[in-house]
Symmetry: C2
């Protein structure tokens, strides 16, 4: 372990748990590459690992029978991919696909489950994170119903930006279209608009965000709502995160 991107603590959840007493599992984190387009798992798969992105960004995608797709949530360094595991589902709800190449860590399913079932800080934090993910999915549902492609593109860019360093996003319009569940041409139109308004610059899969505030204004409320929810849910200190019963009763009890 040397620098930021190869430090597990680049993932916020891992960072939050780094100094708790329950960290025997931390050395078992396995650094991995997450190349663009890689599918971590498909809908219905049994999970062998959970994934903690650091520089990569992962889409939770749903694929309809018709082949149409839509992203239901996005996960970056603030989160973890594979919550179905500890939520007790036999199989994954969505497929998870790398949308922005980068790095991350994975942890064996067994290892995570052992920690989760101690009913301590790990469990508490993961559940809080799941709560935020729920908020994101529910907001996505509403956003898909009521907001225009233009607004959603702004939201999408902002959500991506928050999970990256700098203000460059490497992503084609085609890929964005698949994520938003709209046609590529629709994204072209919206992106052209943003470019003309001077908010972004676009060049063959490279987007430079020139005016973040402008994007925020043009975006629908969904961006801010979800961001705030993440802050609320994940800002709880790890002290808070310790299971209240743990003090007086043995941690792993019944």
């Amino acid at each position: 372990m040397k620098k930021t991107t190869s430090d597990p603590r680049s993932n916020d959840l891992i960072a939050a748990l780094w100094d708790t007493e329950e960290h025997s599992w931390l050395p078992q984190l396995e650094a991995i590459d997450m190349p663009l387009g890689e599918v971590l798992f498909d809908s219905g798969d049994t999970l062998k690992y959970v994934y903690f992105p650091t520089t990569a960004v992962i889409s939770l995608m749903y694929v309809l029978e018709s082949g149409a797709t839509a992203e239901t949530a996005v996960v970056g360094h603030e989160g973890v991919v594979g919550i179905s595991l500890f939520m007790g589902g036999e199989s994954a709800l969505n497929s998870a696909e790398v949308r922005i190449a980068g790095n991350g860590y994975r942890l064996k399913a067994d290892t995570l489950m052992e920690e989760f079932q101690r009913c301590g800080a790990v469990q508490h934090l993961l559940l809080r994170y799941t709560q935020a993910l729920l908020a994101q999915m529910s907001q996505t549902a509403v956003c898909n119903r009521h907001h225009t492609v233009d607004q959603q593109l702004c939201r999408f860019l902002l959500q991506s930006l928050d999970r990256l360093q700098g203000n460059e996003i490497a992503m084609t319009q085609e890929l964005i279209a698949n994520s938003l569940g709209v046609r590529r041409e629709g994204v072209t139109a919206a992106a052209t608009g943003l470019q003309k308004a001077g908010l972004i610059r676009y060049a063959r899969g490279q987007i430079s965000v020139l005016d973040r505030e402008g994007l925020e204004e043009r975006s629908c409320e969904c961006y801010a709502v979800v961001r705030d929810k993440y802050e609320e849910v994940l800002s709880g200190t790890v002290d808070d995160a310790v299971c209240p019963l743990k003090a007086d009763a043995p941690a792993a009890q019944r």
Copy 2:
């Protein structure tokens, strides 16, 4: 307590936990009426209770700044309202509104939390249920993106039907429109179509489903996907639901 609707076991989650050793909290369930339109809590509220519907049906609604609404999930006798509580959020994500009048039970937040934190059957079952709810929300997101009002109305009616006895649904088109997040006229058009096709009969807030299978065919895949997920997740026996650590340590998950 006398008959079916006034037996807490009319709620599937309660029924599943009825015979476990951890049932000291069951007598604390408080029977309540859930009249049409009642708001159990609003988005952002701190939860004082969780609610177990029996005959009532509850919508988890999101209200946008513009005033537009959309349902993100629906809960009936198969579930519980107020998951934010045990997921560790300070406040509710959505508002919860009674969409079909009926009965249910409520439980004090503190009481539920105590049981949840025992890390036993209660926790396991609630998490599995939350997983199903997540599936529903994510499916709603995709459905809102890709499916027509016509398809969604079918899904909506089927989901309502599953939570009721008989084949009568008491609901105005206005209310359905608010749930689906579309105009009332859109619902009128779709409902007229269903009526002409002989699938339903409509009369001033009373819908009779005449051909359930027809509705299923006309519905989008979302209905079946979510239904199956609920079955998968909630069919796990309560034995499965007991925390593996409880028996003794290494029994950890499958």
